[in-house]
Every structure is written in C-alpha cells, then in structure tokens.
C-alpha cells in the first residue's frame, strides 16, 4: 500500500525526476512506494516519448515544393501601410461622425427652438406694411412656422432681434419710427422729379446758430492768414 502522505511527492518525483531527501529515505524502507515510483516514471516516460514521436516528425519531401507552388499563386505580401489598424481607425471615425452628426443637429435646433418665443410680433392694421418692411431691413423676422427642417437650421440666417414679450409693443413703435425717418432721409436725398413726396413728409430744419458759428470760424481763419508775422 502506497503511503498517502508521499503521494504528491512521488508524482512530482516521477514527473520532474527530482527526489527530495525525505522521500528518498522513505523509499529505502517502502517497497510499495518504490514500485509506484517506478511505474509512474514509466508512465511519464511513455507519455513523453509518445508526444516527442508525435511532434518531431518531418514533413514529406513534397511539402516545401507544394508550399512554394502555393506561394507562387499568391499575390505579393501586403505592404506595411495596409495594416488592419488603419482600416479599423477609419471605420471608427466614420461611426463617430455618424453618431455625433444627429446629436449636433438636434442641439442646434433645440437652441433655436428655445429662442423662438421672445421674437417680436408686428402690429396689425395701419402702417403694418411699412413696419414690416422696416423690421425686415433691421433683421427682425416674424416666425410663422414653429418647426423647421434640420437642413435649414444649418444655413446661415440674418441676425434676429430678440425682444421680451412685455416690450414688443414699444419696440414695434420704435421700428415704425425709424422707418419713417428712413423715408424722410430718402426724400431728402432723392431728386424731386423722381420722388413723390407726401404731405406728411417734413424737411429737416437747419438752425441759424450753426450757420453763424461756421461764418465766425471762417472769418477768424482769414484774419490769421492776413497777419504779416505769420508769412514764411
């Protein structure tokens, strides 16, 4: 009967061929363990020789010939630039772009959507046409459509004037006023023959005080020039 406590040591000795002193002393006394060790060594030896015979064979004489024939049919080895990482990197970049593009569009349209409510509503009735034109000139746009396609949001637009709801009426009046002034300025610049001036148009008044100042300045300049000491 094999002594149980030496079982692992016996297996290790059979496998590695290393025999420690304690096991060696035991083997001198125990014939059963000596038998076990011998049979285990024989088993490992058979395993090793079977494995060696299995893996150390040589290929047949035609092996290399066949291999060269196969290689000659192969296209040439790929160059180093065709590394699969390059392809993988490009694919990853494409996937990232495809993932981020809708996200960015949604964000942009979300920002525009949040800014839609405070835009001005132009007053109805008299002078609306004029005010609307002026508003257009200033870049104020009334929005009639709450939804816009994503493509349109990417197109650059004219700047918008954002007006709080409680100031929309005052701002509309301001816009109309500016429009009237524009009409006045247009009437002044345009020749009379080509322009139909309405009764409500007022021509700009120039004050006499401003004219007097200009004359005075001109006179002083003439005096300064006529002085004899100033001639060079």
């Amino acid at each position: 009967m094999t002594c149980d406590k030496y079982e692992n040591a016996l297996l290790a000795a059979a496998s590695n061929g290393e025999l420690d002193a304690k096991l060696a002393r035991h083997l001198e006394r125990c014939s059963t363990c000596r038998m076990t060790l011998r049979s285990e060594r024989e088993l490992f030896s058979r395993i090793d020789s079977a494995l060696r015979a299995q893996v150390n064979g040589e290929p047949g004489p035609d092996f290399l010939v066949q291999l060269r024939l196969q290689l000659s049919k192969e296209p040439t080895a790929r160059s180093g630039s065709d590394h699969p990482w390059h392809v993988a990197g490009a694919a990853l970049a494409l996937v990232l772009i495809a993932m981020l593009y809708p996200l960015m569009n949604a964000r942009q349209s979300g920002v525009q959507g949040s800014l839609q409510s405070p835009t001005i509503k132009l007053p109805q009735g008299a002078g609306v046409r004029q005010s609307a034109r002026a508003a257009e000139d200033l870049g104020v746009r009334s929005r009639h459509h709450s939804k816009r396609p994503a493509v349109e949001s990417a197109v650059p637009q004219e700047p918008e004037v954002l007006v709080p709801p409680d100031e929309q009426q005052a701002f509309a009046q301001f816009v109309a006023c500016v429009a009237r002034r524009d009409a006045i300025a247009e009437a002044v610049v345009t020749p009379v023959a080509n322009k139909l001036v309405t009764n409500t148009t007022e021509l700009p008044q120039v004050s006499s005080l401003e004219l007097a100042d200009l004359e005075l300045a001109q006179a002083r300049q003439e005096e300064w020039v006529d002085q004899p000491g100033n001639s060079e």
Partner: protein, 183 residues
C-alpha cells in the same frame, strides 16, 4: 482635376514597389524551411496525421505570407505562426471528428479495452490523444512545444510570450492530468 505626374516618377515608384516585394519574398523564402517544419510539427501534434498536418501547415504558411509585412520580426513571426498553426489544426481536427462521427454513427459501441490492449502502443497513443483533447488549449500548446526537439522551457516561454513560471506550471499541470487519465 487630375494631378500631373511625370512618367519617370511613376516608373520609379513602381520599381521601388517591385524591389520591396522581391525583398519580402526573399526574406520569407529564408524562413520557409525552418518555419514550415515548425508549423507542420505543431499541426501534427494536434492531428497525429502527417497528411492533414501538411495541409494545415501549408495553410498557416500562406496566411503568414499574406501578413508577412507586419510580421518581419523573426520572434514575432514564429509566435504568430505557432498560434495560427495550432488554431487551424484544432479547427481541422474538430471538423474531421464531426465527419468521422457522421460516418460511423451506425456502429455499435466497442468493448472496453483490456490491460493488454492498453499496453499496445497504438492503443496508448489513442488514449493519449483522448486525454490531450480534454486538456485546455493553453496547456496543450505548452505540452506540444516543450516536446519538440530544440525547444527548452525558456524558448517556449519566449515563443508564447509568457513568464517562465507560467510555462512550468502549465506543463506540470498538463502532465499530471495526462498521467491521471492514462494510469
């Protein structure tokens, strides 16, 4: 708009590419004999059949040739070749086993072998193969490589890019399992 290239420049580029290809081909040819045998041995260790092992080794060498530009470092090439040969041999063995099972499905169970049968070397080899098939792939590869002539434990560790202790541990464990199944 197509970019203009000098005719001489295109010819130079083509010539350089041809030279590089020829250099790659020469370099691969130098490794053909040594590494072809290595691939064959790994495959034969798995398959136990020389003809099948040659097929697998050829396939492994062709694959390595296609990837040779990225595998020019000799140690890297050998490690890659060992792995691909082992993997291809396992796949080949599995498909062959499935084919064999289909062909012999009608056969009745064979009687269990006696002690005399086990003593016979061919029977021992068969049982050894069964026992090896139950090993993990990692242990199996270590066992095959360490059984090859000229492969020390250190060389196997370098080939598989593993610590020496890991190789020793896997080898010991694999041999112990084999012995338990063959005892």
């Amino acid at each position: 708009m197509q970019e203009f290239t000098w005719p001489g420049r295109a010819a130079e580029t083509e010539l350089a590419l041809d030279l590089e290809k020829a250099a790659l081909r020469r370099e691969f040819e130098q490794r053909l004999k040594e590494c072809g045998t290595l691939a064959f041995r790994v495959a034969r260790g798995v398959l136990r059949n020389a003809a099948d092992a040659e097929d697998v080794a050829q396939e492994a060498m062709l694959r390595s040739y296609r990837r040779f530009a990225g595998l020019r470092d000799p140690s890297r090439f050998r490690a890659w070749l060992v792995r691909i040969s082992f993997r291809l041999a396992l796949d080949h063995g599995r498909s062959a086993r499935r084919r064999e099972q289909r062909e012999t499905a009608w056969a009745t169970d064979l009687p269990k072998p006696t002690a005399e049968d086990i003593a016979a070397s061919n029977e021992f080899g068969r049982r050894l193969q069964e026992a090896m098939a139950e090993l993990s792939e990692k242990s199996r590869l270590v066992l095959l490589l360490t059984s090859m002539d000229g492969h020390s434990l250190e060389q196997v560790a370098e080939l598989l890019r593993l610590p020496l202790g890991t190789v020793k541990s896997r080898l010991h464990s694999a041999r112990k399992q084999l012995a338990e199944k063959l005892r």
